[in-house]
Subunit: 161 residues, 2 copies
């Protein structure tokens, strides 16, 4: 049975390694982005299997970094796994801490930021079949920035929350 | 928007509480079972939503307890969340530690045991639509017990792994 335990995604048991990495899981550092759509985010797909209708991914944002500001039809089911920071979901800016649960409804702008000087790691469950994210237009961004709390969040000032 | 943040499963942000509980999440202690099919397990459904094809649940086994020995067509995608213990998957007995990943293939006997004097908490992702688990017959159990390692596991002796 030992080969069963070492066959990539279908492995029976993949051990956690130091520093929030896993054996048999590709570590994908996000490239830094010219348009500054995201910054200092890594991604690991923990579970993705033809027999599963969902996928479980682990994202980690380094201190000062942020995930892509985006929206899409599919929903995100997020658990903060490590550290603390802030997130934007719709027009809500929230301080989030380890193990908090965050739900991103369809077509809702969202972003996670490691605002508090430590890494912000989170699990994200999504449908295996899902639409591509939409990025904000200049108009969308202007609309979001009319809210002072959201403007502070997007402009990298730590929200007072 | 604050009502959005307090509407049960669809709540935008549900904070982690002490001791691996979450606000807005029902805590369901499993009843102790006459047939000793499971012992000292609690269950919390963290994400279950008509727009999600997967569900994410959190199970916690108290020291000395164990989850139901069962099999089914659907697969389990498990992450050990807290503590350590052992699991049986098929004919493999494994020591598992916090953050380890365990995949349970279709029709594979599996059980999680808090064998090491501390709680064993794990996240389990499943398809929202799934079949009911099958319990072992006396014959199935006898078949499993022919393997000394599995017999030790099932009879609550800490495996030397």
């Amino acid at each position: 049975m030992d080969e069963m335990a070492n066959t990539g995604d279908r492995a029976l048991h993949r051990r956690a390694q130091d520093d929030y990495r896993w054996e048999g899981v590709d570590y994908r550092p996000y490239k830094e982005d010219d348009r500054a759509l995201f910054k200092s985010v890594s991604r690991q797909v923990l579970f993705s299997d033809p027999q599963l209708n969902g996928e479980l991914r682990y994202f980690e944002v380094a201190p000062g970094g942020f995930s892509t500001l985006e929206r899409h039809e599919h929903v995100h089911a997020v658990m903060i796994f490590r550290g603390r920071g802030h997130c934007l979901v719709g027009r809500e800016v929230r301080r989030v801490d380890a193990h908090d649960l965050v739900s991103v409804p369809p077509w809702t702008w969202h972003q996670f930021r490691a605002t508090l000087g430590e890494p912000l790691g989170f699990l994200c469950m999504v449908n295996a079949e899902r639409d591509k994210p939409q990025l904000p237009s200049a108009e969308d961004l202007a609309g979001l920035q009319t809210d002072p709390e959201i403007a502070a969040f997007l402009n990298d000032r730590v929200p007072a929350i």
